[in-house]
């Protein structure tokens, strides 16, 4: 015991001249919901496919619960995958799809049937067993794919952008559902996505991928509020950076500093700044009304650009008139972080 569910060491994989994965080390804790987050081409899906066994690493090792499975084919690994396109077998009914893994493992018919029904019930598709996959909606197919994987009771479930094809509302609903299921069954989930909101909503930890390596690994809050690199700061949330001269003038030290938009307060010309706050003057370039809040893009004299968000709690008036005017921005120094890269 005490072994991580998955241990990756020095994982490398190239496709032709492209280094898709360039030395990844990662320990996935037993029972956690880990998200591999990154833009397309960052290597996150390749890492997932190597864990599943669909791709062989050029170098490095993969351990599942302490056992080296690097050279094992997919069918000899105790993991299951939910595919981006669901990959349901079109010539089998929903029930046959769900039973497939058990049938392959020669589980007796009665038990097979019971477990498949249980899995279908768990995803609220108990009545749909005899349908063909083509007769289901996208969300339903997605849940069948989930049931087909979970029915095997794997130690680890791998999910390759499973919500990508769903519309926004269904996606948000499924995010909640997935998290609930993970909590119920208590198995390790490794979830791949390029959607930072999705990652934040569900994950215990997030591994942010960039150019084949992990840029940062941490809880959603850590990654969001303390981005380790410029890339993470930019990819997770909005890049709000102060460089060189400007940073020196405002913060008092050189380097690259980041402040999250919602921590920045936009002061109207007659508003005073609070005690102990940083302040900086700038010109409003853009005002974007987004319902709950309004976003301001402010150009600073040194060339940097900061975004500030103001909750629309008090002003119901249109703030568009601020476009082009000089304003001041202020924030609590506690919320500014220096970034390494």
């Amino acid at each position: 015991m005490g072994e991580p569910a998955i241990r990756l060491r020095g994982l490398t994989r190239s496709f032709g001249d492209v280094r898709a994965v360039a030395g990844v080390d990662l320990d996935v804790v037993d029972g956690e919901f880990l998200t591999l987050l990154g833009p397309s081409g960052s290597g996150k899906t390749t890492v997932l496919r190597m864990i599943a066994g669909f791709e062989r690493p050029d170098a490095g090792t993969i351990e599942l619960a302490g056992t080296d499975v690097t050279d094992r084919p997919p069918y000899a690994r105790d993991v299951n995958t939910v595919f981006q396109d669901y990959a349901l077998f079109p010539h089998m009914s929903v029930r046959k799809n769900v039973e497939y893994g058990l049938r392959v493992k020669k589980v007796p018919a009665a038990e097979r049937r019971a477990r498949a029904q249980e899995a279908l019930d768990a995803v609220r598709l108990g009545e749909y067993g005899e349908r063909a996959p083509s007769q289901l909606s996208g969300g339903q197919r997605q849940r069948v794919a989930l049931a087909r994987a979970l029915v095997n009771r794997p130690k680890v479930l791998l999910l390759d952008e499973p919500l990508g094809a769903l519309d926004l509302k269904l996606r948000e609903q499924m995010q909640v559902e997935l998290k609930a299921i993970q909590r119920d069954v208590g198995i390790t989930f490794v979830f791949v996505t390029h959607d930072q909101d999705e990652a934040r909503t569900m994950s215990d930890r997030i591994a942010v991928f960039n150019e084949g390596t992990i840029a940062q690994l941490g809880t959603p809050t850590q990654v969001y509020e303390h981005p380790a690199t410029t890339f993470v700061a930019g990819f997770v949330g909005t890049s709000n950076l102060l460089h060189g001269e400007t940073a020196h003038a405002v913060v008092g030290r050189s380097g690259t500093w980041s402040v999250r938009p919602e921590k920045i307060r936009l002061l109207l010309p007659d508003e005073p700044a609070a005690e102990g706050m940083r302040t900086v003057g700038g010109t409003v370039r853009e005002v974007v009304y987004v319902g709950m809040s309004t976003r301001f893009v402010v150009d600073l004299p040194g060339g940097d650009t900061l975004m500030a968000v103001r909750q629309n709690a008090e002003e119901s008036a249109d703030l568009g008139y601020l476009r082009g005017t000089a304003v001041r921005l202020s924030w609590d120094p506690r919320f500014e972080y220096q970034i390494a890269g």
Partner: protein, 290 residues
């Protein structure tokens, strides 16, 4: 309300899709009915006529004589059985050779090689039919053909000209018609299907049996329809490499000018056999997936 907006876009055909469809399909449908079904019907009708013994002219009076002759004469029955056996053997051989080959082309070979392999499979189709059959005639020569020379070290003799030679040659001729639909079916098969099957614990054999074959079954059936019906109707191959062996097509060829009704009756048999085959295939549900 939505109708109001849609009528403003597009013309008459846009508003009346059925009329538009009818307009598009009338010519091809007429062609199909008149030329294709019409000639089939004419063939079938002719089979019930006879010829005048003195002039050799068609006599258009109804008679079952031709069918009686075909179905009661052991020589023609033998030829019928022989022809169907050849077609079945050719189809089975094309399956055994073609499906793994198509699988290799579609799923194993790298994407750089795929177009080249497809071209290689297609090249024989561009050569003249006769050239290919004569090439096989040369290869199958009983004494100094390539096949005989190849088999000699093993103490075997070549098949010579006859039943086996016909099967070999027809298999060669129609193999691309099996490979291409199966190849197309396999390339349409998403990679994730194979990954999913392996992921759920299936080894390659199991994946082939439970996922790949059922999913490409319609393509395989399409290929077998080609190989089966093309073999059934062939006669030139039998003429060139058949030695003394003849197929139904040769009977038609020998008799069609001097005794057209009899030839028509013989020619009806492969049509019926193919129709029966299609019926069986349709019952298996494969045609809907084509």
């Amino acid at each position: 309300m939505t109708t109001a907006t849609s009528t403003q876009r597009g013309g008459f055909g846009y508003r009346h899709p059925r009329v538009r469809l009818a307009g598009l399909l009338t010519a091809p449908m007429a062609w199909l009915v008149v030329v294709y079904l019409g000639s089939l019907a004419a063939l079938f009708l002719t089979a019930f006529w006879t010829v005048n013994d003195f002039t050799g002219q068609l006599v258009k009076t109804f008679t079952l004589k031709n069918f009686q002759q075909v179905f009661t004469n052991s020589a023609y029955l033998e030829t019928m059985v022989r022809t169907v056996s050849i077609a079945v053997l050719v189809t089975v051989l094309a399956l055994v050779i073609g499906v793994p080959l198509a699988f290799f082309m579609a799923r194993v070979a790298s994407s750089r090689w795929q177009p080249l392999l497809v071209a290689l499979v297609l090249t024989p189709l561009w050569a003249s039919y006769l050239v290919k059959v004569y090439a096989w005639r040369a290869m199958l020569q009983p004494e100094n053909g390539v096949v005989a020379w190849f088999l000699q070290p093993f103490g075997l003799s070549g098949p010579g000209y006859g039943f086996t030679a016909i099967v070999i040659t027809l298999t060669y001729l129609w193999l691309p018609y099996m490979i291409l639909p199966v190849y197309a079916g396999l390339t349409r098969l998403p990679d994730s299907m194979l990954d999913a099957s392996a992921d759920l614990g299936a080894r390659n054999g199991r994946t082939l049996r439970s996922v790949v074959l059922p999913m490409i079954f319609p393509s395989v059936v399409a290929g077998s329809i080609f190989t089966f019906s093309l073999s059934l109707g062939d006669y030139i191959t039998a003429q060139i490499v058949g030695g003394k062996t003849v197929m139904l097509g040769n009977v038609v060829q020998t008799t069609y000018v001097t005794n057209l009704p009899f030839a028509a009756a013989v020619a009806t048999i492969p049509v019926i056999i193919v129709l029966l085959y299609l019926l069986v295939v349709r019952k298996s549900g494969a045609l809907e997936n084509l």
